[in-house]
Assembly symmetry: C2
Homo-oligomer: 531 residues x 2
Amino acid sequence: MIGFRDGATEVEPFHATNPATGEHLPPGFFPATPEETDLAARLAADAFAVYSRTSGKEKAAFLRKIANKIESVASEVIDRAGQETALPQARLQGETARTCGQLRLFATVVEEGSWVAARIDRAVPDRKPLPKPDLRSMLRPLGPVVVFGASNFPLAFSVAGGDTASALAAGNPVVVKAHAAHPGTAELVGCAVRESVRECGLPEGVFSLLFGAGARVGAALVKHPLVKAGGFTGSRSAGRTLMDLAASRSEPIPFYAEMSSTNPVFILPGALRERGERIAAGLHSSFTMGAGQFCTKPGMVFLADDTDEAPFRNKLRELVEASAEFRLLTANIHSSYQSAVANRKSRGTATIAAQAAEPSDSRGFAVGSILFETDSTSFLKNPGLDAEIFGPTTLLVRNTKRDEMLEIARNLEGHLTATIHGTDRDLREFAELISILEGKVGRLVFNDFPTGVEVSHAMVHGGPYPSTSDGRSTSVGSQAIFRFTRAVCYQGFPDRALPDELKDANPLGIWRMVDGQMTQEVNVPASSSRA
Amino acid sequence: MIGFRDGATEVEPFHATNPATGEHLPPGFFPATPEETDLAARLAADAFAVYSRTSGKEKAAFLRKIANKIESVASEVIDRAGQETALPQARLQGETARTCGQLRLFATVVEEGSWVAARIDRAVPDRKPLPKPDLRSMLRPLGPVVVFGASNFPLAFSVAGGDTASALAAGNPVVVKAHAAHPGTAELVGCAVRESVRECGLPEGVFSLLFGAGARVGAALVKHPLVKAGGFTGSRSAGRTLMDLAASRSEPIPFYAEMSSTNPVFILPGALRERGERIAAGLHSSFTMGAGQFCTKPGMVFLADDTDEAPFRNKLRELVEASAEFRLLTANIHSSYQSAVANRKSRGTATIAAQAAEPSDSRGFAVGSILFETDSTSFLKNPGLDAEIFGPTTLLVRNTKRDEMLEIARNLEGHLTATIHGTDRDLREFAELISILEGKVGRLVFNDFPTGVEVSHAMVHGGPYPSTSDGRSTSVGSQAIFRFTRAVCYQGFPDRALPDELKDANPLGIWRMVDGQMTQEVNVPASSSRA
């Protein structure tokens, strides 16, 4: 789907696999040829000249049209996504709503318009020793953006997911590399976007969707000289490979990879004592949600020492043992989960506290939930225990003293989230823990669970490396619009040659910083030095 | 100068050179040992825990104290800087004022406090299907920052220059690697900063200053695991080397290198006809200012065709021929300038339109100004002509047709600035040129010159690669405070555990986005779901 054109079908097709049965799903999908990849990038660069100057109102209409079109084919999308992912229908319905909600959130943001961070410093022609020029700056889009669909969110982090929505909202054309696990879902959503491009009268290069079963198509896009930024959600190894490609280009580009995170949870003494069972139930629901395949899955849980952990631990064991089987999304995730679990079992650094029955059905990618446990001494001695395992498992670290919690926190790599369960008193006693964790994660959660990432203005879904490639950004929420932008400054420009956002009369009525003060006022007086 | 400690003096010292005489200047300075480099990074990491939580008011007092202390030793600083750089006293006085002005601008920004981009999304406990949590985000510092002093701004881009000021303002400890060309100036300013740290009662690791004559000390700092970001101003080759080091770390870090820029100038037909002589005088002053060693020096000038260029060209030739000699800053810049000029002469792709007399004094780093010219056909055929030559020279590209200007603009690499001289009519006829240039530079200048970079809120001193390593940032102006920060989100936190910036009562009175609306209001009502 290269702009309005369809790709070649003379190449070897690949197929999606039904995770419930392990069987291939028709039809075949055709990997993009090198020429098609190049064409998509060139069309995107051509489209940039027009699309980068499209008004906020027009972009909002475009984003809303995409959302409407996705909703109009929602049942077909959910049906196909169900076959390709084995995710339950309710989850896919929720994800469809979330995807359309994201598009509409960005529509609201660009229609309102203040997101461009307009700043105006008025001229002072008689300043000594030198006149002060008129300077005005605002955020502008970067250029063609490559977006990689994620396996674990076939809608919300895929073809019309967060990165696509934020890139389009900011004025960047997008080339999506579909995830090979859900090509049919990708195609349905891609058609909705393509039709929206056409109906809005936008240049065809604003959106392309390419298929590919290996690393070739994605790597070619990241290396393409006309591509100016990228967004990725996936494994640490693939993310790092793409980051390194982006950084080693003759013209390095921003590349946002959201990779691995173990999302530590700290259960402090008061909370463990007062509501151990309730926390256990919430934790179980959180680490098994989506079969444990969320980037925010809590994968290590530190229990305070000197407290009766039995109600918490017994409840959690009971829930794990009673768990139904889970189906993982892909053969890769399935084999990685099995080998990571086997590895953890065999190394003897953690023991099994509870496990669900082995899956009855050996077809597809079924697995059972498993609860590991260890103690803080062993955790501190065995660094590998903090690694992410994608799937319905977590690690309890028992009897963790306050000092050990602080030491563990100080040694943490970057994570997307950290969670603290505590009482008011716990919070006072562990203030230092919060202070350390602030430097390690993008989001600190108190008395709740990290899964369930709200799409809103204050959300930060990002964190220091290796949770992401670039801890300065978020891939969820309206602040994601900033990732594919940069500020441009106009010096001494006549009013009529300025973008509307920077004109004296503030025709868009947006918030601007004028001489250092935030204001929504119209009619910034033109200084006498301006043409 | 490692925190409050002095470095070892048992190592081989190096000396600054007086560019006017070529003679070494006493005293010797001692390169940091690997142990000292490591200690500086460790002290900075230790200091981060305290300094990152220092209030805006306290940071403002600290920054103002640094400015006051620099002013109190200004005559000594200017005297020493004069010997180490051969820059005229008036320039050094101006640069001292600029440096102190920068520190005070950031003091004002952090004292006011709204820069943290606080966002509050209030909880909706009864939202269906799931409750909406309380989410609050703000910008936080990254950690220890390494700053490289620049040769061409011994004060404003050096020890207490823009990167140091913005990093300290945002709450990051700083380790400066002094430029080997002006160690004495660096030491005087470093003492002012160190005394300010002490008098403000801040941890010693907030600031260290290391010397080194080669690449070793800087590389060690960029690779140090405790260093979390870097800022550099200098050559493209050194910048790229450091960028690559930062990107290839096991934990890659943001690295802002401001490197090379040729700052194209387009002189459109109406302007060339109406005020050719005046533009020539402004251009001459701009490309010879600071002996042509500004990052914003206009290094290529495109003249419209079909217009009488004689008044412009004759005036410019006359000014170049009458130029006094210039002294370059370092032996490296001197030899690079001489070989670049010789290379341009010998390749035959440009001819000499005018040149000043050879310097009478062969001591030191004296050179004469030189004006090259070529035509647009030759420019388009010879890509090397767009390369930056650091020193008092520029290249006129004559008879450039409108289409050629557009093609040249489309083919440009990233630059810090682009400049257009035009009438109202020119601007209408060349609207497409502006549109293309917006994608190529950080600042577009109209009917003025790119040198003289205002330190203000709307300034953008940055641009796409290779003008900088990261076009999303600026190294001048108050927006530079964002480069060493990232957003952190707090979910479900009790009010008293939140930073002041995010508390319900808005005790700092800052601008915040509450449920998507900008407001300075106090007393965001706590929702019932909050502790």
